[in-house]
């Protein structure tokens, strides 16, 4: 085993197939992440604005955006005059 340390994934790949569902989830997240990062490149946007630009339901934008915030790729901008919605921007 010691000789394989650092590359044990190769051994599991021989035994186990990655599910189609896992592959689909990866594709979907990568696609949405890219779309959000592109949309935020250049302007700060609210969740409603992102939802319109990306044609994604509001709640899905919340999930993806908050994940990107957690991963340090996005940061919080200003809150509106009614103290209701924030804008979000890319971490430079």
């Amino acid at each position: 085993m010691d000789t394989e340390k650092g590359n044990t994934v190769k051994l599991l790949k021989e035994k186990r197939k990655v599910s189609t569902e896992a592959k689909e989830k990866l594709k979907e997240f990568t696609r949405t992440k890219k779309a959000i990062m592109n949309a935020l490149n250049g302007e700060d946007l609210t969740i409603a604005q992102l939802s319109e630009k990306l044609s994604l339901p509001y709640n899905e934008v919340v999930y993806y955006l908050m994940s990107l915030l957690k991963f340090g790729l996005v940061q919080v901008g200003e809150i509106d005059d009614m103290d209701e919605y924030f804008t979000y921007k890319v971490v430079k």
Partner: protein
């Protein structure tokens, strides 16, 4: 397959299991603690603050848990499940356990999180009640114990990115399930409770209306390690202004098969209402209740404190929740005091979900009978004089596995169980 002997096995690493394991270990007996999750700490480690003192939950939990984890007389198996418990000779139990692979060598992982950064996969984070994502290579949460990575193999695409960046080469995809046979003198069951699934009450719209959340989701939103940067509606990211609580969701309700009072939800809702008023000073918080059960020491004062802070208490029975186009929620309820049907609009509704029995423990005993009570909790056969005793000699209960309990009561119950377990070990040694 490993074959080992311990004085005691504790099943479940919530606050009750940890307390019981520590007490036994401090008396020079060796203990094996089995936790099915990736971290010990149970529900308490995920709470924000605790009633009625508003102490930070993580600050109280983590010292106790690290004392337990570092104890020389305690061995912990996380990610592990019991398969079977049977009698072995006159005074021992034989326990079979499956230890699931974590795909990370716990001893070598430093918790640097480089694997997390490298992993391309994102899936809902179960420790944040699915409100935000996490990677497939991940540390369960920042105060997890052990605070080391794990690979979620069902969602892993086997790209190997984590393994390439790991500085200590602790990721090991060759790990497999391990089967263990353990001989012990006594068993403590501390598998805790489950939360009521609010989808069983479709008229509340949980799952359908995104701004209807559970109290555990709100607990996470109020914790320092929250999923969002502040309290937000999951449906559209709005800072909520009018928040409603519906008490007794899934408790005291024969229509969902649970007539019992869950004992903790009045108090945790009052706690969350106070925390919300601190986090969102302009917010209106309304608690819809049947009765307020503030029976413990300092509880009624805690309730009065909430009243004084401006929390609105409405004695009302909720008929139905409906959603407006903008995500706001309309509650139709019977105002019990006036007898009239009323409607009220809220930005967000929190369902104060009740406590239901975790029936895992019953599955382990196939040739012994572990009796359950009428609510399916493990039965305390002598609840007045020996509350930790079960129907099997040498098997004891600690914490909420035997019924709803708050944290102090779970710790007291674990104290009682550990004394009984120690007596049993001494008597049959």
């Amino acid at each position: 397959m490993g074959k080992v002997t311990y004085d005691a096995i504790v099943v479940g690493g919530g606050i009750a299991g940890c307390e019981a394991a520590l007490n036994i270990a401090n008396n020079d007996f060796n203990v094996l603690l089995i936790e099915k999750d990736l971290s010990v700490g149970g529900k308490m480690i995920l709470l924000s603050k605790v009633f009625p003192t508003l102490d930070c939950s993580a600050c109280i939990t983590t010292p106790k848990i690290s004392e337990m984890a570092r104890h020389p007389n305690i061995t912990i198996f996380t990610g592990s499940e019991l398969q079977k418990v049977s009698k072995y000779g006159d005074n021992l139990f034989e326990v079979s356990i499956v230890k699931n692979p974590r795909y990370v060598n716990i001893e070598d992982c430093t918790g640097c999180q480089l694997c997390e950064q490298a992993c391309p996969v994102t899936v809902p984070d179960q420790y944040q009640l699915d409100m935000v994502g996490r990677k497939a290579a991940y540390i369960p949460f920042s105060i997890a114990n052990p605070r080391v990575a794990a690979i979620d193999i069902d969602n892993c695409t086997l790209c190997g990115a984590c393994e390439k960046v790991c500085p200590t080469k602790c990721i090991d995809f060759t790990q497999e399930k391990e089967e263990w046979i353990i001989h012990v003198k006594t068993v403590i069951l501390a598998t805790g409770f489950n939360l009521f699934n609010p989808e069983m009450i479709p008229r509340y719209g949980f799952g359908l209306y995104k701004n209807v959340v559970t109290s555990m989701q709100m607990e996470r939103q109020l914790a320092p390690t929250r999923p969002f940067h502040t309290v937000l509606r999951p449906g559209d990211g709005k800072v909520p202004d009018r928040i409603a609580y519906i008490l007794c969701t899934g408790s005291r309700d024969a229509s969902v098969g649970n007539t019992m009072c869950s004992q903790i939800c009045c108090m945790y809702s009052i706690k969350q209402a106070q925390l919300l008023m601190g986090a969102l000073p302009m917010a209106d918080v309304t608690i819809y209740y049947i009765d307020i059960r503030a029976f413990g020491k300092g509880f009624n004062e805690f309730y009065e404190q909430a009243l004084g802070m401006g929390v609105n208490f409405v004695k009302g029975k909720i008929g139905k929740i409906s959603e407006k186009k903008n995500g706001d929620l309309v509650l139709r309820y019977e105002d019990v005091c006036s007898g009239k049907l009323q409607e009220a609009e809220h930005d967000m509704v929190v369902l104060s979900v009740g406590v239901v029995a975790n029936q895992d423990a019953q599955k382990y005993f196939t040739d012994l009978t572990l009796k359950k009570d009428r609510h399916h909790f493990v039965q305390q056969v002598d609840p007045l004089l020996n509350p930790s005793k079960t129907s099997i000699e040498g098997v004891f209960v600690a914490g909420s596995v035997s019924g709803p309990m708050d944290i102090p009561d779970s710790i007291l119950s674990a104290g009682a169980a550990s004394v009984e377990a120690i007596n049993h070990i001494i008597q049959f040694s």
